[in-house]
């Protein structure tokens, strides 16, 4: 197993760790999560949709990252989600909203907003690194299969 492959596996494992941990934490304290969502600067009518869609999306991304065939889709989805979270954290840091309680699960909710921003940026970088490595691997496989096909 090459260093690049080990790095890719580490990146995917870290992304799964974050998304699965965050989603399970939300479900374990669902009542608080609903209350936190109601306090977000978003219409409260969105809450019933968001409280289910966000954790389920996180679980879906984790599942996609587990399997080779869906990994690239999972990496792109995690990049989009992490960029969305980062933009939101950036808006909070620049005082776009009066107050915003974090709707994160578990220990992540104990982070301050600047710490949150750093964590999000790190995970955006990890997603980009994962996409680069997975794409290289994907194209190498296609080239290998083409060569093999031409030889046969």
């Amino acid at each position: 197993m090459s260093k690049k492959q080990v790095t890719l596996e580490c990146v995917c494992a870290l992304l799964i760790l974050l998304f699965l941990y965050a989603s399970i934490s939300k479900f374990l304290d669902f009542k608080t999560f609903v209350g936190q969502m109601n306090n977000q600067p978003l219409p409260n009518s969105w809450t019933p949709f968001l409280v289910w869609s966000i954790p389920l999306l996180e679980i879906s991304i984790s599942a996609a990252l587990l399997f080779e065939y869906t990994r690239l889709i999972g990496l792109y989805a995690s990049l989009v989600l992490m960029v969305a979270f980062t933009v939101y954290t950036g808006l909070v840091l620049f005082h776009f909203f009066a107050y915003v309680p974090c709707s994160c699960g578990g220990v992540i909710s104990k982070l301050t907003w600047p710490e949150h921003f750093v964590l999000n940026i790190t995970y955006v970088s990890l997603s980009i690194l994962g996409i680069i490595l997975q794409r290289r691997k994907y194209f190498k496989t296609i080239i290998f299969l083409n060569i093999k096909h031409n030889l046969v």
Partner: protein, 95 residues
């Protein structure tokens, strides 16, 4: 290669599930207090009834015997008002 991949993925799943269960809110959340200038009052639920805004103060305290020990520091207790159920729009009154 598959063994290493399986190890990474199994570790990630076990750590996330175990971590989430281990760090789920316990009685401590309801045993938090804030100082209102004269005495210590129950804080409520973080993110639902209050938030801790960044500042050099202490947001919440825990009670140990008769003493109150700082729990969430570097922030100020700020009460907010929201329910744990989605807010329903009020019915329009007929004329």
């Amino acid at each position: 290669m598959k063994k290493i991949k399986m190890t990474f993925m199994t570790l990630a799943i076990l750590l996330s599930v175990g971590g989430a269960i281990a760090s789920r809110p316990k009685a401590l959340q309801s045993g938090l207090y804030y100082y209102n200038g004269t005495g210590y009052m129950p804080a409520g639920t973080l993110g639902v009834t209050y938030v801790c805004e960044s500042s050099p103060n202490v947001c919440t305290y825990t009670k140990s015997g008769n003493n109150y020990i700082p729990y969430q520091t570097m922030s100020t207790y700020t009460p907010i008002g929201a329910t744990t159920t989605p807010t329903k729009p009020e019915p329009k009154k007929g004329k």
